[in-house]
């Protein structure tokens, strides 16, 4: 039973989070920051998520590419 629950959890983790949890964490932080700044300040916040993508994507690719490049 425990193995089945673990397998179920592992399936959804793989489905939603995927190979790099840092990407999911970065996206969550970016949208949380957008939400908080949009609610509490008058500044433009549309640039936060694109900035996160511009930063997260090369970092994630570099981590994945590293074993074959060294």
């Amino acid at each position: 039973m425990t193995a089945r629950i673990r397998a179920f959890g592992a399936f959804w983790y793989d489905f939603v989070i995927g190979d790099d949890w840092r990407v999911a964490a970065g996206v969550t932080v970016a949208f949380t920051l957008t939400y908080l700044l949009s609610r509490t300040t008058g500044i433009a916040t549309w640039w936060i998520a694109p900035l996160a993508v511009v930063t997260l994507l090369p970092l994630s690719i570099r981590r994945a590419a590293r074993p074959t490049t060294t």
Binding site: D14, F15, V16, I17, G18, D19, D20, V23, A24, V27, T28, F31, T32, T34, Y35, S38, R39, A44, T45, W46, I48, A49, P50, V53, V54, L56, L57, P58, S60, I61, R62, A64, A65, T68, T69
Partner: protein
């Protein structure tokens, strides 16, 4: 723009997943038992239909800003996963997705498994292989079609795109009775990754309270910008060695069942 982008994104995502599901069903049928494989295929489609029937009204009942934030976040995570793998493949850091190679690997595995009659199914292995293939490959498409459709208030268009892609792949599969190795799957995955990332960015930020300059027209800038950035990443991480030198089986070594 949004309607055509919606159709293209859902159609391409559905087509690539349908090609992968077709490869698995063909392997199960060819190596084991066609009747059991086709029963598994229909059982998988039925399961996906139940998921759509259950999730569809639930997704539609969520307020639009909350839906866009939640769905945008998930789409952006999905999109970055697709894009990351597409860039790794295009730059030679990961083996290209090769349906012919995957078909051969599945055939070998299927032929070595012992036969088992269970629950009225002649060959349980062929049934479960086809069933799992259809459900696993279909789940992401269901999510993409539902979220794109509900966000754009056009679920019928998303459903039509998904149905058209599945029908096209199924007809092609019946016609050639072999894995659709000539489908430009890697390029299609690259485009889907760009679309998911762009729509995830747009909807997620809007749902979080941001206002895009130019409103909906911002998508006309976001989609090409994400595409150009992805191409720049391919150039930046390009490997001199031929990707064909890496066995395609390694593509599944890091739990790469999707995308």
């Amino acid at each position: 723009m949004s309607a055509s982008a919606l159709f293209i994104a859902v159609f391409l995502a559905c087509a690539v997943e349908a090609v992968e599901a077709l490869t698995i069903v063909l392997a199960a049928g060819t190596a084991r038992d066609w009747r059991s494989a086709i029963t598994g295929l229909f059982a998988g489609l039925l399961t996906l239909a139940v998921i759509v029937a259950a999730l569809g009204p639930a997704v539609s009942s969520i307020p639009l800003s909350g839906l866009r934030l939640f769905v945008g976040g998930l789409l952006l995570v999905f999109g970055l996963q697709w894009l990351r793998k597409a860039i790794l493949r295009a730059s030679g850091n990961k083996a290209l997705h090769d349906e012919a190679q995957i078909f051969q690997t599945e055939l070998v595995a299927a032929r070595t498994a012992p036969p088992e009659h269970r629950a009225g199914v002649a060959d349980w292995y062929a049934f479960t292989l086809a069933f799992k293939g259809v459900v696993l490959e279909g789940l992401e498409v269901v999510f993409i079609a539902l979220t794109f459709g509900s966000n754009q208030h056009d679920i019928p268009l998303a459903a039509a795109a998904a149905a058209a892609a599945v029908l096209l792949v199924a007809l092609a599969g019946v016609a050639v009775r072999a894995p659709l190795a000539r489908v430009p799957e890697n390029s299609m995955k690259f485009v889907v990754g760009i679309m998911l990332t762009a729509f995830g960015l747009f909807w997620g930020a809007e749902g979080a309270g941001a206002h895009w300059p130019g409103s909906d027209a911002a998508l006309l800038v976001i989609i090409p910008a994400v595409g150009l950035y992805a191409l720049a990443m391919v150039a930046l991480f390009r490997q001199p060695a031929s990707p064909a030198a890496v066995p395609a089986a390694t593509a599944t070594s890091e739990g790469d069942t999707r995308p």
